[in-house]
């Protein structure tokens, strides 16, 4: 399931335990998901799913459901 992969990726990119990543987690919910954390997440998504996330989209992918929906539509990995 892509949701599980995304949650695992978030935990690694934000450097927090997996049990802190719940299915509705959003930007700002954890101190680690700040501006730098968000950009780490975006870069990890690009690398893991071979997608190029443009600047406008970066502002939309601010929670787990939005990230999963985006990947389902754009990722071929």
């Amino acid at each position: 399931m892509i949701e599980e992969v995304v949650q695992q990726l978030l935990a690694e990119a934000l450097n927090v335990p997996l049990d802190q990543i719940h299915p509705d987690l959003a930007y700002g919910d954890l101190p680690e998901w700040d501006s730098m954390g968000h950009m780490n997440v975006m870069m990890a998504l690009e690398e893991r799913f071979s997608v190029e996330i443009n600047t406008e989209t970066i502002a939309l992918l601010t929670n787990v459901p939005a990230i999963c929906a985006y990947l389902k539509e754009h990722s071929h990995a």
Partner: protein, 395 residues
Amino acid sequence: MPELTLTPIVPIPDFLIKEIQSKLAYVDETVSAAAISSNGDSITLTLRHAIDANTQQAITDKVQRVVEAMAKNARRLRTQILEDYLDRPVAYHADPMQALLERGEVFQEDTGLFTLGPILTNLINYFEGIFLDLAAKFGAKPYRFPTLIPARFLDRVNYFRAFPHSLSFATHLREDLDVIEDFAEHTHCDCEGALTTPTSSFAPIQTLLSPAVCYHLYFSLADRPLPGGSLAATAVGSCFRYESSNLVSLERLWNFTMREVIFMGPQPYVLEQREAARQYMQTRLAETGLAYRVESANDPFFIGEFRQQAIFQSAFQLKYEIRARLPFRDSTLAVGSYNYHQDFFGRNLNITLPDGSPVHTGCVAFGLERIALAFLAQFGLDADQWPKAVREAIA
């Protein structure tokens, strides 16, 4: 002066040339200036003195670290333009600094430090009147803040990580009679203007010169709910950002003055106020005749955070700069900005809204010396050539 020319580890894209060039000033104390070729494939450093091969290699390595951190995998950010009045007619096309210096209207005390005479002071007061009108329109409460700021405040908002290169520190002699008497008897300035006192005479640094105005307001409200749930405030203050060899004329001062109108509250309130402030200023700046453009921008983060933070600020449309035209150089100068910080200060300083969520903040900031300089760059020192509204207001 000796030079060191090298090829960057990756080609520097055109949109990063100015940004990387400014950061190269901090690479090594030997470097007095840095220039990047227009195609981004060559860097030339001007050195204060000749260096040996080992030093040359060390400097080259540091330059490549900067280039790799900022240019590798960099992406061109789309510039969003909200207003464009750069084609407004201007009456002057020379660099006003030469005339200001000749007439004694500015006096340079040291690098980045200038005394301003009546022309600039009157212009600053004129623009201040407009900014105070802006503040009044939003019912902004007046505040006064100290020039010094505690280190622990800046540490709490990660300022040291984001902008270490531009910090200015304040200290004093240790409370020790021997140290103080020794200082009084023996200290003088060396030929470069540096105090001869050993650094061990100084107390540990707990205070800095403030780099911004609005931080003081946020710190004063830390660790409690925001009274009333929203706040508009205004203050003017001295700000300090050390910019090394980038300190040029009045365009880039070490010690400058900033007027801010600050908004705190829920996200919609802050964003609406920021936008309303921009629209109000659009009308008021038209009166001044100033040729300018408002466009998306990013803060001058240091190399470690630059690439990611710049993309983040662009993606979330956090910063727009008022860039006034400098006709003599065919370029622009940032004279103000419209900023939104999301809930960064609310989260880091634990300032909450009535529902317990962190407060959002934003500010509108104007560099007073810069806007006065930009005006003179467009209209000259002869008041007869100034737009009527400015001429009449100052007369």
